[in-house]
């Protein structure tokens, strides 16, 4: 139980497996519903990563919002889009290649970012990021951002509602 | 009627006995009434008679979750395929009580020239217990369920009271 195979590392590996496995299902599955569930699994793994960053609050948020809310929204979006019993269109190699290229590009840029960042080990980082502190900052230093969040959400929702209502009407007329 | 049930993968006499004892005491009927007898079936589940005392009061609307099909009423020829299908869709082990004379033999509707009914539930599905009457009293149905319990466990059930 020493060296690389500490419990911490093992669980980290597990979390990575879950994340990547979920991501793989999300990308490779032929059934769109499986893809969403893979995504949920992947997001669940990401929540584990947050734990490694010593941020249980964010991890819980991840589960609550991403697994709980966003996946549900996506599911509804899927059910809304087209009947699932229709046959799926076949995968085109060109499309696949393009998607791979795009993903590779994003990956490359992110990895560059990772390399450039000056990482500080959490214990040395010093600043306390407990929930209360986040809250404190939200109320003081980032008060404007705090209010803006709600405003942005409001605008997004209004847009969604307007779109949904208008979309329905115009599609029928 | 060979489409009954098959054996489980593991077959242990003791285990079977325990399971049978549990099955007998937890017969969940399907919410399924065909005609007049269904009302008496409801009455048997209601406060005066209370099938739930024997663990048989959990009426499940889905065939997938029920153990017992109480064929309460006349099976018409139009209904027969549905009855068969519902029976098929029940998970094993499953039992059937033919409640009332119509379900047993067509009852008063069985005569020369009848074109509409199936004369007896046992012609389309295997019936375990027959409860005669037109309609049977709720006590009759309870009696039928007790008989079925006896059939499942091979043990007398509340014999001293009956």
């Amino acid at each position: 139980m020493s060296g690389f195979f500490t419990l911490a590392n093992l669980s980290f590996l597990l979390i990575l497996t879950v994340t990547f496995g979920g991501a793989l299902i999300a990308v490779a599955g032929r059934n769109i519903f499986h893809n969403v569930l893979g995504l949920a699994l992947s997001l669940f793994g990401v929540a584990g990563l947050y734990l490694y960053l010593n941020s249980p609050f964010l991890a819980m948020m991840q589960i609550l919002i991403y697994v709980g809310a966003i996946c549900i929204a996506i599911c509804f979006a899927i059910m809304l889009s087209e009947p699932l019993y229709l046959p799926r269109p076949p995968r085109k190699p060109a499309k696949l290649a393009a998607a791979g290229l795009g993903a590779g590009l994003v990956y490359f840029m992110l990895s560059m970012l990772v390399k450039k960042t000056d990482w500080v080990a959490a214990p040395v980082r010093g600043t306390d990021w407990s929930i209360a502190t986040i809250g404190h900052y939200l109320l003081t230093r980032y008060a404007l951002i705090f209010e803006l969040i709600s405003l942005i959400l409001l605008v997004a929702m209004l847009g969604a509602i307007v779109n949904a209502r208008a979309g329905r009407g115009s599609a029928e007329s | 009627m060979e489409k009954k049930t098959g054996e489980p993968l593991i077959h242990l006499a003791v285990l079977e006995e325990v399971l049978n004892l549990c099955r007998a005491n937890s017969l969940w009927p399907m919410t399924f009434g065909l005609a007049c007898c269904a009302i008496e079936m409801m009455a048997a589940g209601a406060a005066r008679f209370d099938l739930d005392r024997f663990g048989a009061g959990v009426f499940r609307p889905s065939a997938r979750q029920s153990d017992l099909m109480i064929v309460a009423g006349t099976i018409s020829k139009k209904m027969a395929p549905a009855v068969e299908r519902l029976y098929d869709q029940m998970p094993a082990p499953k039992w059937v009580i033919a409640m009332g004379n119509c379900a047993i033999s067509g009852g008063p509707f069985m005569y020369e020239g009848q074109y509409a009914i199936v004369p007896g539930a046992d012609l389309i599905i295997p019936v375990d217990v027959y409860v005669p009457g037109c309609p049977p009293r709720p006590e009759g149905l309870i009696e039928g369920i007790l008989q079925l319990e006896e059939k499942i466990t091979n043990r007398p059930r509340l014999r001293k009271f009956r």
Partner: protein
């Protein structure tokens, strides 16, 4: 190594305890449900299996183990098989943070209450999986309704919990109990308590909010196609969720394990089962709401009320 052993033993013991509690709780609750419903309806309920039907649920459970598991041919089999397991996954986790007594607590996490809420959302996903994969229209309708209902009631549930948290200033359940050393929160927050019970009832899909499994409309809702043990696991999860919601309500509003004379654990369980009794009492009294009314109630009445309650609480804290 010692540390690992110690933690391992702790985990093992707590797991055994939790699993025991979950099983016994479910067995007891189902028996209790049948007895409560029976006595409300002037009948005795289970009587013949054990003393006053005490062994009834055990018979039911064993019978369900001995039932065939049917997988519909047209179903999405993988998801169909996974759904009950996913449904049950989060159930045990919530018990990690519930303080049964000052000493009987598995782990006092500092995001305590959030953990319970976060993991309870997984059940929504499981319901959606179950309903969708069955390829049964009743299941699908039930699942969609269930999800729409859960998301409509999750918000007020969280917000009412917040109005307690704003008073306590901590997400830890132990802190919340400690805060109620003298007076229970329900006296400060009667409205929040009522809202929490309503939303909790809705979250656990209990009547009058049992629309997803509304018998008279959707046969058995999202678990129409599930037979035997698979169905039982949904049931088990439902009854355990009832326990969890009641436990959270107890911690938030009824002072957790606090109470005179009796030991803390007894007090805790008493309060929990009192709330569960309340839920059962609702179920056997009210007709079912229509789906749109339910949604409307959630969005139009409960959320504004809970928000107002939150603001009032904040105001009160500022003033006093």
């Amino acid at each position: 190594m010692q540390f690992l052993l110690a933690e391992g033993a702790r985990i093992g013991i707590s797991l055994i305890g939790v699993i025991g509690l979950v099983s016994i709780n479910a067995l007891f609750l189902i028996w209790m449900e049948r007895k409560v419903s029976a006595h409300i309806q002037l009948r005795p309920g289970p009587m013949e299996v054990g003393f006053h039907g005490a062994l009834q649920t055990i018979a039911d459970a064993l019978k369900l183990i001995g039932k065939e598991l049917i997988t519909p041919e047209d179903a999405d089999k993988l998801i169909y098989l996974l759904a009950p397991i996913v449904m049950f996954l989060p159930v045990l986790v919530s018990f990690i943070v519930i303080p049964f007594s000052p000493t009987l607590l598995i782990r006092d996490l500092n995001v305590g209450i959030l953990l319970i809420f976060a993991f309870s959302t997984m059940a929504v996903l499981a319901i959606l999986m179950a309903g969708w994969s069955s390829n049964n229209k009743y299941s699908l309708l039930g699942a969609i309704r269930s999800v729409a209902q859960t998301i409509a009631y999750e918000i007020p549930l969280l917000i009412t919990a917040m109005s307690v948290i704003i008073m306590v200033g901590s997400l830890k359940l132990t802190d919340i109990v400690a805060y109620q050393a003298t007076v229970w929160n329900v006296l400060f927050q009667p409205l929040a308590f009522i809202l929490f019970i309503i939303c909790g009832t809705a979250e656990t899909n209990r009547a009058p909010f049992d629309i997803p499994e509304a018998e008279s409309e959707l046969v058995a809702g999202f678990h129409t196609e599930y037979s035997g043990m698979r169905f039982a696991i949904f049931f088990l999860a439902e009854y355990t969720n009832m326990f969890i919601v009641s436990a959270v309500a107890t911690v938030l509003f009824l002072g957790g394990w606090r109470g005179p004379i009796l030991p803390p654990l007894v007090w805790f369980l008493l309060k929990v089962y009192a709330i569960i009794f309340l839920m059962m009492w609702f179920r056997w009294t009210f007709p079912r709401l229509r789906f749109d009314q339910l949604i409307t109630l959630g969005w139009k009445i409960l959320i504004p009320l809970s928000l107002a309650n939150l603001i009032l609480t904040a105001l009160a804290i500022k003033i006093f």
